[in-house]
């Protein structure tokens, strides 16, 4: 065998061993991530409409329908500033398709329905936005002065329901 072939062989062995090690490490790292749907946090089913803590008021917007049940946005107002925007109920967060599903999804999970999917109009974040706007409107009628600059900062097309971090890579819709 020529020196070149020998060196090439050596190189190839080292190269592929290296690649394999990297792949295994990547695989292990991925396997360590929680992938089980059951491990996902269960959503809080009942939103508290008015909770005051330390001078802050939380106002819940009108409920809206998603393919996975109804949801509503809420804002926390303190001193005329929106300090937090949240979703008290999070039906569209992927894990809750199983945790808090609508009728047919419950059947899907239990395996009692022989249905593997539901086709419907795409759920997007626009419904969340209008729920948010209704919360802001309520805040105003309840005598809360919400500064408009904060409103526009909060109500952007990218506003979307709180979902666990690993599902929150993207912020838009079609």
């Amino acid at each position: 065998m020529s020196l070149f072939t020998k060196n090439l062989e050596k190189f190839l062995i080292f190269f592929f061993t290296g690649v394999s090690v990297v792949l295994i490490v990547m695989g292990v790292a991925r396997a360590k991530k929680p992938t089980s749907l059951a491990a996902a946090p269960a959503p809080t089913p009942t939103p508290a409409p008015q909770t005051s803590t330390l001078g802050a008021t939380t106002i819940t917007g009108s409920a809206y329908q998603t393919p996975w049940g109804s949801a509503s946005a809420s804002i926390t107002v303190k001193g005329g500033q929106v300090v937090a925007v949240s979703m008290p109920s999070v039906p569209n967060s992927p894990p809750s398709i199983y945790a808090e599903p609508y009728l047919i999804d419950q059947a899907l999970k239990a395996g009692s329905a022989n249905i593997q999917g539901v086709s419907g109009a795409t759920y997007t974040s626009i419904a969340f936005k209008s729920s948010l706007q209704s919360a802001l409107a309520q805040a105003t009628t309840q005598g809360q002065s919400v500064s408009p600059s904060t409103n526009t900062a909060v109500v952007t097309p990218t506003a979307k329901p709180t979902v666990p971090q690993r599902y929150r890579d993207d912020d838009d819709d079609d």
Partner: protein, 307 residues
């Protein structure tokens, strides 16, 4: 083994059910699908200021170099616009932005709306020139494309003789192979009147299925209700049809045709679908259902599916 995986992209949950996949195979398939969605999102999103589409959408009036992918998508949109006499028009982006739906922010519509006829193309250099205030939104094609490509990426690495999967991206579906025990995939159609109910179901295999509906994405603008399917001949949200489901070989075709059903007059929409021999299930505002025999043949009574 039946494995479920979900990720979130383009503002929608994407749910993949895989049959005959080991847990690690399912993870690998998920990663491939997610990569495709991320790529499509970065290229075609009207909700991300850094996307290639938004760079084009802010280049109005001057020639702008685009990727072959974006060039082809916009060309496809223009072909669809010509076929539908401008009922469908990718220039719809401006109308939607003026409703506050997507970028650009605080967009004011011009008096005369630019149309697809105002677009200029340089095929050799891959250049596109938009008219002033022209904002493109090719979403009706792009989402189906992303689903098909994600499906293709999974198919390439799987054993089609024993493995199968269904991708459900926010209600639009692509299936490959079979469900458990070689059975077809049963896919239900959501009732437009209630998120808690389904209205019918169809059994499909190696096919795409998409529903376009006016009941999910919409709002009010200057006291007038709107939804996202805007007929660009009138620049108004299309009336008449609330839900249109189409089954086709690809999800792209299903999704595109379903969107066109909402935009076109019912007779025209039906003629278009019949010419393409596609199964369809259409629900009008008054609750009337229009479907063809090919759909009826795939239809499964819900009572037999739900125990």
């Amino acid at each position: 083994m039946t494995e479920h995986r979900i990720f979130h992209s383009m503002g929608i949950p994407v749910h993949i059910t895989m049959v005959g996949f080991s847990s690690s195979e399912a993870d690998a398939a998920l990663a491939r699908a997610e990569d495709i969605f991320t790529e499509y999102d970065l290229r075609f999103s009207r909700f991300k200021s850094e996307s290639e589409l938004m760079r084009l959408n802010t280049s109005n009036g001057s020639w702008h170099k685009v990727s072959i992918e974006l060039f082809q998508v916009i060309k496809k949109c223009v072909a669809l616009s010509a076929e539908t006499d401008g009922s469908f028009d990718p220039s719809v982006g401006g109308v939607l932005a003026s409703y506050g739906y997507g970028l650009p922010l605080n967009f004011e519509l011009p008096e005369v709306l630019p149309t697809y006829r105002d677009l200029a193309f340089n095929d050799r250099e891959l250049l596109i020139r938009l008219a002033p205030k022209q904002i493109l939104e090719p979403a009706c094609i792009v989402k189906g494309m992303a689903i098909d490509m994600a499906g293709k990426a999974i198919v390439e690495k799987m054993d089609t003789s024993r493995q199968g999967f269904i991708i459900n991206a926010g209600g639009d579906i692509f299936t490959q192979g079979s469900f458990e025990d070689g059975k077809q995939w049963n896919v239900a159609i959501q009732d437009p009147r209630s998120a808690d109910a389904i209205i019918t179901a169809a059994g499909i295999q190696n096919a795409g299925m998409a529903t376009s509906g006016t009941y999910q994405t919409g709002g009010e603008h200057h006291g007038k209700k709107w939804h996202h399917l805007v007929n660009m001949q009138t620049a108004e949200s299309a009336p008449g049809i609330v839900s249109a489901t189409v089954i086709a070989r690809t999800c792209e075709e299903a999704d595109t045709e379903a969107s066109l059903v909402i935009l076109l007059p019912l007779e025209k929409a039906v003629a278009r679908l019949e010419a393409r021999q596609l199964p369809y299930f259409i629900i009008s505002e008054n609750g009337t259902v229009t479907k063809n025999n090919t759909f009826a043949q795939l239809e499964i009574p819900i009572a037999t599916l739900v125990a």
